[in-house]
Symmetry: C2
Subunit: 200 residues, 2 copies
């Protein structure tokens, strides 16, 4: 079983290796790995260097904090994510600190930081599975997230386990081949829908 991407053109091995497991090993994540994962997020690019991302982290050896993060996820995500040794909420600041104006890039820039975090995790043999299925208002009340900030995503971080040991519903997800739209459907040139010469 390999979830390695099958790219049409060569890409960096860490990008090809990355995938989002449902079935995690319960082995904890080393403290030094976790620090470097968040350090990687920290150095992401952002509009006006606003760094609109915040993270709320819980590890399984903090059962009360872990349960709080888990409670913010929708039930379907709780079902599998509770195996992961680390759960994280991804939070955005909606407005620029310097002038209070709306930051149109906030969600996008959390994505940039999350991808950096994921790359660092992948380089350390870890996996990250991101979720949008959660209750932002529950996150706000459980953690006291202030106005102007919003819980947008959750991330399960840990080591992928052998899906042969997983319940059938999850096993299928973790062994299914990976697929993507062809480049001709996502990279245009000149006008919408016209395949860019860059990818022909």
């Amino acid at each position: 079983m390999s979830k390695q991407a099958q790219p049409s053109y060569p890409i960096h091995e860490l990008l090809a290796k990355r995938w989002s497991p449902y079935w995690y090993d319960e082995r904890p994540v080393k403290a030094e790995d976790l620090r470097s994962i968040f350090e990687a997020a920290r150095w992401a690019a952002s509009s006006y260097n606003e760094q609109p991302w915040r993270f709320i982290v819980a590890t399984k050896d903090q059962p009360e904090q872990y349960a709080k993060v888990l409670s913010v996820l929708v039930e379907a995500n709780q079902a599998w994510a509770q195996r992961a040794p680390v759960l994280v909420l991804g939070v955005i600041g909606r407005n620029f600190e310097r002038n209070g104006k709306p930051n149109k890039a906030a969600e996008h820039d959390l994505g940039l930081a999350a991808a950096s975090l994921t790359l660092e995790a992948t380089a350390r043999g870890l996996h990250v599975h991101q979720m949008i299925g959660l209750d932002p208002e529950k996150g706000r009340s459980v953690f006291g997230v202030p106005a102007g900030f919003e819980v947008l995503t959750a991330l399960a971080i840990g080591y992928a386990a052998d899906p042969a040991q997983a319940p059938e519903a999850l096993r299928g997800r973790d062994t299914a081949p990976r697929g993507r739209k062809p480049l001709s459907e996502i990279v245009f040139g000149g006008t919408w829908g016209q395949v860019s010469s860059a990818v022909k």
Copy 2:
């Protein structure tokens, strides 16, 4: 001059090397590099594997297409971005293809794809500078972007040039030291504003 990040904890060298120049060399980007850059974006994660990202690409050897992309940027970005050999618009699909419902992750997931693209570019000695300063409605009319899609970002791609040759206003930006909030301000545990033990 080095814009290498100064991380507090070790991070992958491609993440530390990445930065967003204002002053580009006019050397073109090789066709094979450009293909791999978009291939990297293609394999990013997304909610329900929706892949809400689309890209509109123009290279400088296509002057008409390049001018069209450039025209979508705000003037302050046009001023420096017009040196880059490749300009790209980042577009999101607002709704899921399979049921037409709003995709709350669309902007975030374009960020994931853009970060993958940027990592691939960095691995190939290239740089990417992302922008949110553009006119989405102009992008829609210039390229015929259909309802349900929206131009969100632009990306200048190329080789960073020696800032000593840049006009003074840009030189300062490309030589200024890089800074980020400390981890203690962005990674919380237990409750909002309390530094996570993971980064202490």
